[in-house]
Amino acid sequence: MAELTLHQTIFALVTSLLAFLFVLELVRRRRLREEYSWLWLLTAGLMVVMVAWYKLLLVITRVVGAVTPLNTLLLCAVLFLFAIAVHYSVIISRLTTQVKNLAQEQALLAMRLEERRN
């Protein structure tokens, strides 16, 4: 099993940490709501853990049958992104229903108001 080189470790650590801090900063400045940030933070956090705790990464690599630890990192990143995308689809579906109900409510109220005026 090919080792994760120091070069790769540093790069992976720095990028994951930056991603984590970037999301945190967005939440702090209230540009991103906490409820939509937790999956990003979890993703970046787990990437940091896997890179820093090399033994864990090796175990996971063996479990999933990947060739190198780097493959495992990539696979995890893709899976996390998939989870985040599905999470957003669920949120969008909920928002769609809420917008639909609001629009119907607004239309019915507007009609009632207009009919009362006449």
Binding site: T97, K100, A103, Q104, A107, A110, M111, E115
Partner: protein, 254 residues
């Protein structure tokens, strides 16, 4: 069959009916006026509601001038959502039943009493106007016929009921059904065959009634361009998922 029973004057099944005639409309200013007039002639004591689904033309003004009540959705939300807006109003103002038909003149308002009679007489909870039961010729294109055959077969597979016309937008709902379709159980996204299956699985009794069907008097059909392909895909998906969803029956009447 059309016009049998005395439900037109609101006495089907012995009880007075308070029907709401629902016309979802999107950019139908050229046709909606004539349809409203036709409905007034067919069922003079019914309340007519036009739901304007965010039209960019003056559909709402034309419908109001013709004597209908008009709800205007703030933006286009699709025929299913427009129809459900009408169901919600029907629940709030306690109408006994809702008859729904297209605002583009494809359906014959004179067939409304026949649908009402079925619901009012207690013969069924849902009456569906079928283009294929009557003696009137209706010749859809090949693609449409294949699609309708496919959905008819799927609906039969899932409900055990043979529908001759699963994509009909001409239907009457009794009060219980109206309460049901005003909730989130109603599939607002391309609702025709989907709603039949949902209603059947919720335990409602469905019956088809022969109606006349005219070709569109101009304007753009909902089924144009790539839409039919998406439609087929969406229908297959929802038909396949319908039996896997939680039984709507447990919500019925709740």
């Amino acid at each position: 069959m059309a016009g049998d029973g005395g439900a037109a004057d609101g006495h089907g099944g012995g009880r007075a009916l308070k029907p709401l005639v629902l016309l979802p409309a999107f950019n139908e200013s050229a046709r909606v006026g004539r349809v409203v007039a036709g409905v007034q002639a067919a069922v003079p004591d019914a309340t007519i509601l036009v739901v304007d689904d965010g039209s960019s033309d003056d559909t709402a003004d034309v419908a109001r001038a013709a004597g209908a009540r008009v709800v205007r959705l703030p933006f286009n939300l699709g025929a299913g959502v427009a129809a459900q807006t009408g169901y919600k109003l029907a629940v709030r103002e306690s109408f006994d039943c809702v008859v729904q038909l297209d605002a583009d003149g494809q359906h014959e308002p004179a067939d409304i009493p026949a649908l009402l009679a079925v619901v009012a007489g207690g013969h069924a909870d849902v009456a569906i106007g079928s283009r294929f039961l009557g003696g009137v010729a209706y010749h859809p294109g090949v693609l449409r016929r294949v699609g309708m055959g496919l959905f008819g077969w799927l609906a039969w597979l899932l409900t055990g009921v043979r529908f001759s016309d699963v994509t009909s937008g001409f239907r009457a709902f009794g009060a219980d059904v109206v309460r049901f379709v005003a909730t989130e159980w109603y599939p607002t996204d391309y609702a025709d065959a989907d709603v039949l299956i949902t209603l059947r699985r919720a335990g409602f009794r469905l019956r088809e009634v022969p109606v006349r069907m005219y070709p569109r008097a101009g304007g753009r059909s909902m089924h144009a361009g790539l839409r039919p392909i998406y439609y087929v895909f969406k229908m297959l998906l929802s038909v396949a998922l319908a039996p896997l969803r939680r039984e709507p029956a447990e919500r019925r009447g709740a």
